[in-house]
Subunit: 249 residues, 2 copies
């Protein structure tokens, strides 16, 4: 084994650190995957692992069959590459999944969802119920480290489709557009009636989808609640809507 990298200015380390920025990720087609569980999920799903940075005593790279693409680093350098304060070894450069195209499949649409934790959690729930995910131009970068963490490995098994003209593209794909709104919509039985593949649109906190987006959809869905209807977290409200659709498939 060669000597570990001990300088933050090493060119390979500088390159990895650049991937903390969305513009660099887009240009390079690569992102950072941090910690053993996240790396195992990516590797297990067949993602292309470009390079792995690991502490000298970390057995994970060999255990995952990634010894050939692994370089050893000291903790100082690991912390420089990481986007969290107390990183766990290893951290890897991984090729992002190519953007998919919409087909006639049930699709969760993250409409201008800016919070990375909510976006990742919703991706995770969509994956659990067999849905793909689409995003609008103002949605958070789905390949950012925070979204990757919240999604717990589901990036590698679920299609993510970036939309430029959301409503037009969803219609062109033949989907039934259902807006999730806090009040005034149909219940799940009516909103999802008919068997067509659904595009389920969810907005962000605190106000949800704008009225104009909701009006551009075919139907609106409102979840029945016994308490305060406005008080659900957006990831919770969206996940319950996904669950209700999933029960009808």
């Amino acid at each position: 084994m060669s000597d570990p990298i001990t300088s933050q200015r090493n060119p390979r380390i500088m390159y990895a650190r650049g991937l903390a920025r969305a513009s660099v990720r887009r240009a390079e087609g690569r992102t950072l995957v941090e910690g053993p569980h996240a790396l195992e999920a990516a590797s297990g799903a067949g993602a292309e692992i470009v390079e792995v940075f690991a502490l000298e005593d970390d057995p994970i790279p060999e255990a995952l069959g990634l010894g050939d693409v692994t370089v050893r680093v000291n903790r100082h350098v690991l912390e420089a590459v990481a986007t969290t304060g107390t990183p766990r070894s290893p951290i890897a450069i991984v090729t992002m999944q190519a953007p998919s195209s919409l087909e006639g499949r049930d699709t969760l649409v993250l409409y201008e969802v800016g919070d990375p934790g909510n976006a990742g959690t919703l991706l995770r729930t969509a994956s659990a119920f067999g849905m793909q995910v689409a995003t609008t131009p103002n949605t958070v970068d789905m390949w950012s480290p925070k979204v990757l963490r919240s999604a717990a490995g589901t990036h590698w098994t679920t299609a993510i489709v970036p939309l430029r003209e959301p409503i037009e593209e969803l219609r062109a794909a033949g989907l039934l557009l259902v807006a999730s709104v806090v009040a005034g919509g149909l219940g799940p039985d009516e909103a999802f009636d008919g068997g067509r593949p659904v595009a389920l649109l969810v907005g962000s906190e605190p106000h949800g989808l704008s009225a104009s987006v909701a009006e551009a959809c075919d139907r609106a869905l409102t979840l029945g609640m016994s308490g305060d209807v406005e008080s659900l977290n957006v990831a919770i409200a969206g996940s319950i809507a996904i669950y209700e659709l999933g029960q009808r498939r």
Copy 2:
């Protein structure tokens, strides 16, 4: 208006800073509420606002009728009191709700839930569906700043019951004990059948409730999924279970 406090060593500031610690919160019966939305929620729900720290140009204290208990501080001092990196004025010392006792009401039981974001989100969902919340000895302190943030003001409108001997106390309250588990349980129709008030027990990531806790319950609930059953975030899985119970009330 008197001069603003400009020293982090001012005794009132030192006292407020102490409330970042759970042991001090318990001893004092008070916690910190940070930012205009959180303070408005606490104030609007009738919580006792002990003292408010606000920047000199912040109109919120007067708008909420809290001018009499407000002291002005500079940004340096506001940041010292805050538990987040970029705090918004005002920050207040607020009397925590007294612990309630269990009655025969639907109760979400956070069983050794250590993550403050999940605990707060689950409290928020329980509140939306009219349930109270109970905690076990190893659950995160529900009055910590992170839990308060995630719960978005629902601490002040929802009973929170700390349990010492969870199973015994829930039984003594006459509740039907339903364990939320990832596999092998009943569907919601059967798990919640009978109309008795339910104690819905949820565990923490990554493994959920222990087998011994699940076996000590009357029934187990498993949510049907078309995708990967283990991949739901604990706050999502718990929230869907709450929703399913709510639909039957």
